[in-house]
Amino acid sequence: MTSDPRDQQSGPEFEQDLEAVRSAWSGLEQTNPPDLLNQAVLNTARRKLNARRKSRPLRWLGGFATATVIVLALTIVIQQDEQQSIPTLKKTDGFMLEQATPEASEPRMKRSAAAPPVAASDTAVLPVAEEMSDSLAESEEATGGNPEAEAWIERLLLLRNTQQDEKLVQELAAFREAFPDYSLPPELQD
C-alpha cells in the first residue's frame, strides 16, 4: 500500500526523514495482543459464524419466497396479455374468413410475429428503468451510499448546532454501533 507515485512527490528530504523514523520505529518492541485477548476475539468470530449459520435457512426461505412472487407476477402478466390478444385474433379471423384471401393475411401475421405488442412496450420501458436505477445509484454514491446514515448525520449536526452535547455524545455512540465504518463530517470529528 505504499506504491502510490504521488507519495514520492513529497520531496527527497521528507522521504529520508520518513525512512529514518521508520527505521527507528522498527527498533521498538513488537508488542502483540495477549493470548486471552486473541481467544476472546476468535470466540466472538466463531459465535457470529454459528449465529449466521442458524439464521441461514430463513434467509434462503426469504429468497425463495421473493423468487416465487416474481415468477407468479410474471405468469399473471403473460396470461393477461394472452387473454387480451384472443378476442383481437377472433375478430381478425372473422374478417379474414369473409375476405378469404391468404395473401392479405400473410403480412399481418408477419407483423405480429416480428413485433408483438407486449415486447414493444417492454423495450420502451427498459431504458427508462435502467436510467432510473443508474441515477439512483449515482445519488446514493454522492451521499456516501446510505441515506439512513446521512439522515442520522443531519440529526447529529442539528444537535451539535443546538449545543445539546450530552445527547450528541449518546447519539454518536449509537451511530457508531449502526455504522462502524462510516466517516463522520469534519464538524463532528472534534
Binding site: S10, L18, V21
Partner: protein
C-alpha cells in the same frame, strides 16, 4: 502456493469459513494492536479498544464489499472506535501515563535500546492526536496517503501535512539522540 488476499479471506469468512478468519486475524492482530496501543498508551484500554474494534469488524463482515481494500476498511473501523474513545474521555491531556510493556524484551538489547525507544515513544506520545493517528497508520498499518486520508475522513493534502509535521518532530528527537550519543 499463492497467498490468499485479505479481501478473499474476509469474503470466505462471511461465507462461513472460520479458518479464513483465523488467518486474517493472525495477519493483522499485531499491527492493529500496536496502532491502538501507541495511541492510548495504556495496555488495559488498548485491550478493550482492540477487542471492541474486532467486534465491530466481525459484526460488519456481512456487509463488507471485497471491492474495498480490507486493510483500509479495517483501520477505518478501528480509527473511528479509538476517536470515539478520545471523545468520551476528553480532555486528552488527562490520558493515563505510558504503561506500554513488551511481551518479550531481549535483555541484551534492552539496555542499549531502552533510552532510544523511550525517547521515541515519548515524542510520539506528545504529538497531537491527529498527527499521531496519521503517523501510526503509516508506520504500523503501512497504509499509503490516500488510504490514510480515507480512513481518517480528511483529504489527501491534510493527511500529508499531518504526516509531515509528525515526521518532522520525530526527526528532531532522533537528531538530539544522535548528538547526545556523540557527546557521550
Amino acid at each position: 502456493m499463492r497467498e490468499r488476499s485479505d479481501e478473499t479471506l474476509m469474503k470466505a469468512y462471511a461465507n462461513g469459513s472460520m479458518e479464513a478468519f483465523e488467518l486474517l486475524y493472525s495477519r493483522h492482530r499485531g499491527p492493529l494492536y500496536r496502532y491502538i496501543l501507541r495511541q492510548v498508551n495504556d495496555a488495559a484500554t488498548a485491550n478493550d479498544l482492540f477487542q471492541g474494534s474486532w467486534e465491530k469488524i466481525i459484526k460488519a463482515s456481512g456487509s463488507y464489499q471485497p471491492s474495498a481494500p480490507f486493510r483500509a476498511w479495517m483501520y477505518r473501523i478501528a480509527h473511528n472506535h479509538v476517536m470515539d474513545y478520545f471523545r468520551r474521555i476528553r480532555p486528552i491531556s488527562e490520558l493515563p501515563p505510558d504503561q506500554v510493556e513488551a511481551d518479550n524484551p531481549t535483555p541484551e538489547k534492552q539496555l542499549l535500546d531502552e533510552q532510544r525507544s523511550s525517547d521515541l515513544r515519548a515524542a510520539v506520545k506528545q504529538l497531537p492526536v491527529e498527527q499521531k493517528d496519521v503517523l501510526l497508520l503509516k508506520l504500523e498499518a503501512g497504509l499509503d496517503l490516500q488510504a490514510i486520508a480515507d480512513v481518517t475522513g480528511v483529504n489527501r493534502e491534510t493527511a500529508k501535512s499531518r504526516l509531515r509535521y509528525a515526521v518532522g518532530k520525530l526527526k528532531i528527537t532522533l537528531r538530539e539522540e544522535q548528538t547526545d550519543s556523540c557527546n557521550d
